[in-house]
Symmetry: C2
Amino acid sequence: MTPPRRLQLFVAYDGRPFRGWQSQKDGSGIQDHLETAVARLCGGERHPVHGSGRTDTGVHALGQVAHVDVPAARFSFVAQWRFALNAHLPPEIRILRCRWAKPGFHARFDAKGKVYRYRIWNGPVLPPLEIGRAWHVYHPLDRDRLREGAAIVTGRHDFFGFAASRGRAGDPADTIRTVNAVRITGRPGGLLTFTYEGDGFLYKMVRLITGSLIRCATGKEELAGPPPLPAPANRPAKSQYVAPAEGLTLVRVRY
Amino acid sequence: MTPPRRLQLFVAYDGRPFRGWQSQKDGSGIQDHLETAVARLCGGERHPVHGSGRTDTGVHALGQVAHVDVPAARFSFVAQWRFALNAHLPPEIRILRCRWAKPGFHARFDAKGKVYRYRIWNGPVLPPLEIGRAWHVYHPLDRDRLREGAAIVTGRHDFFGFAASRGRAGDPADTIRTVNAVRITGRPGGLLTFTYEGDGFLYKMVRLITGSLIRCATGKEELAGPPPLPAPANRPAKSQYVAPAEGLTLVRVRY
């Protein structure tokens, strides 16, 4: 029995065939596939795989990060883990890179920030190659309103109104996050890409912000931005406009 | 019974779910889907749909062009054909635009040129979102050899050696084509895109040229380019290196 060593994995996936990142009873989570692949390489022994955070069903990743403690001497070179794991994973999940983690590294607790990308196809007809990877918005969009909205949500705010959760109350400090930047590239009438950088994102926060930005860019409503800090005890109602999962990709985790 | 009028269609498709452009006995060709959609809007009457040319199973299109003669007065506005046809087509086939064709227009005979794009993912691991839309080439590629190869095939040549067909002989004039440009963007070690512009392409010609360019860029072989004109009666052997269909997209047809 060789001593365990912590392996850091950079994982990409197409979110469509899986029930999200998190382990599911029927084994359809991305985490399940990774744990099964690790077990196959470790004589059936299961080792928990910890991700930087969960992604929902249909959300893609180019740079999800995870760690797992494995028998150090299983392979001669750490790079062999990549080939071996990929051989036991479906093609829609790929280990792009792997390396030995720095001592004490934790994929979730050490994450300092994340970058998400949200893709929107704005036009009357969705090109077939965008199915499952962009949100189809056919209403004309106002670029200035998109820019204004992006400016409103950028910064350190109480994002309670942009978090999906059942609880109504809770400590305001729990929903304070910093969005460092929202970059919008492309153009209304074609492909629009929103890139979000922040120190962390609440559950469905990117999709709720995107849904609200699009709603206000159609001119139907003003954006009810996050309230100023310190967060008021009586916070505004939660946004109802959730952009669909398929447009979202976890691009990078910063440590 | 209203007189027929020729409708010009700009069609995009994901090539994966279909057996290529051409009509199939089991109705799985893209042409079949289009003809069925037209028939549904014309009281069951079938009208042949003519494309600018065939694409193979797995080949995508952003700008295939087709024509079909339809009852002129079926809708008040020509744009309604787009909405109505899309409502009867699978989401992997979309009419992006449609208009009344100029008198005498023929999608195939009037085509003056075509633009094809071929996408290659060059690296050890294929990112899942590239499945079915790029050729995965893991061997390191030499950028200079790619450029040299692209220069060799550009121009007016006898492309007999880059045409898939059973016949060995035939008139050399039948396989003379002009490739106006081969543009290579991206970089070895990542996503590479080859864009081909020409007055016409023989069966599998783009895939055969791409396969040969990649073969020579791995340093395994020199590129046996097309012979100079006039084409010799005894032409070189056909290339054996066919790049897979999934990396290819018909981008535009020029008239």
